[in-house]
């Protein structure tokens, strides 16, 4: 399969539009995280107490799920480039499995927080927690829809390399956002 010349400024891996989207997303989450940290200065102790209610083990396991999923995604794309479609699809399914496991564990965590009453509106920290993590979960859901649609297009033999690369870039973006969210929400305070 013919690869694009990525050295051209207009053709980063995944496409220029995808990278514009990635930077906009990173900027949005980045600003929200900075505002979260700035807000913590107003009431340090309250933030610390609330952050202690989060389960770091869940956060760490979810990090592993997303990183493993990202590894499978990168491998799947590589196999697709070398025309090994059968194995590429297998790794793509493993990528999807990683995303589903992430969502399952996130649901358990959300259920626990809701049961304990740490809902949106409980305090400033939990407002940020819900908004940031839920916004990220929406991205993971959209990513999963893209990956499922990619799997079906591979079955039909209609997948273009550009589409595969753009889908992979979107999925990795979910990893990147989580890698910024996890330390700040779960570990920093």
């Amino acid at each position: 399969m013919k690869e694009t010349n990525y050295k051209n400024i207009y053709y980063p891996p995944g496409g220029i539009l995808m990278w514009i989207l990635i930077f906009l997303e990173l900027l949005t989450f980045g600003i929200a995280i900075v505002v979260l940290v700035a807000s913590s200065k107003e009431n340090t102790e309250a933030f610390k107490t609330s952050a202690n209610h989060l389960n770091t083990t869940y956060g760490a396991i979810n990090t592993l799920f997303l990183l493993t999923s990202g590894f499978f995604m990168a491998t799947s794309l590589q196999l697709f480039k070398s025309n090994n479609l059968k194995k590429s699809k297998l790794y793509l399914n493993l990528t999807i499995l990683g995303g589903i496991l992430f969502l399952l564990l996130k649901s358990v965590e959300y259920h626990e927080k809701i049961t304990l009453g740490y809902v949106l509106g409980y305090d400033t920290f939990f407002n940020f927690y819900w908004l940031l993590t839920a916004f990220h979960v929406i991205h993971v859901l959209v990513g999963l829809v893209i990956l499922v649609s990619l799997t079906s297009s591979i079955k039909k033999g209609k997948t273009l390399l550009e589409d595969f690369e753009a889908s992979a870039a979107f999925w990795h973006m979910c990893d990147l956002i989580w890698l910024l969210l996890f330390p700040v929400l779960y570990l920093l305070f």
Binding site: Y6, V34, S40, M73, L180, V184, L187, L188
Partner: protein, 80 residues
């Protein structure tokens, strides 16, 4: 190529474990919080440059990402 991804993945696992250990043992120290943030940025770079193949891209995209991360960590370190 597949080997490159495996090495990156293993490095990510080591960094995640290190972050977890640091945060459990030395929680509450400001310097450790910043270190945790820096370790996360390293993981971010490994994903972006190796999994997303950004290292093959035009320098503009690499520099833009590095500027973003520097500003992000810098601002948080100053505020925190």
């Amino acid at each position: 190529m597949k080997n490159k991804y495996t090495i990156t993945y293993l490095a990510l696992l080591v960094l995640t474990s290190t972050t977890a250990v640091f945060s459990n043992i030395f929680s509450g120290l400001k310097a450790i919080s910043i270190l945790i943030l820096i370790l996360s940025v390293l993981k971010f770079l490994l994903v972006a440059f190796n999994f997303m193949e950004l290292k093959k891209a035009h320098p503009f995209w690499k520099v833009l990402l590095l500027i973003y991360l520097s500003v992000f960590v810098g601002v948080i370190s100053v505020i925190f």
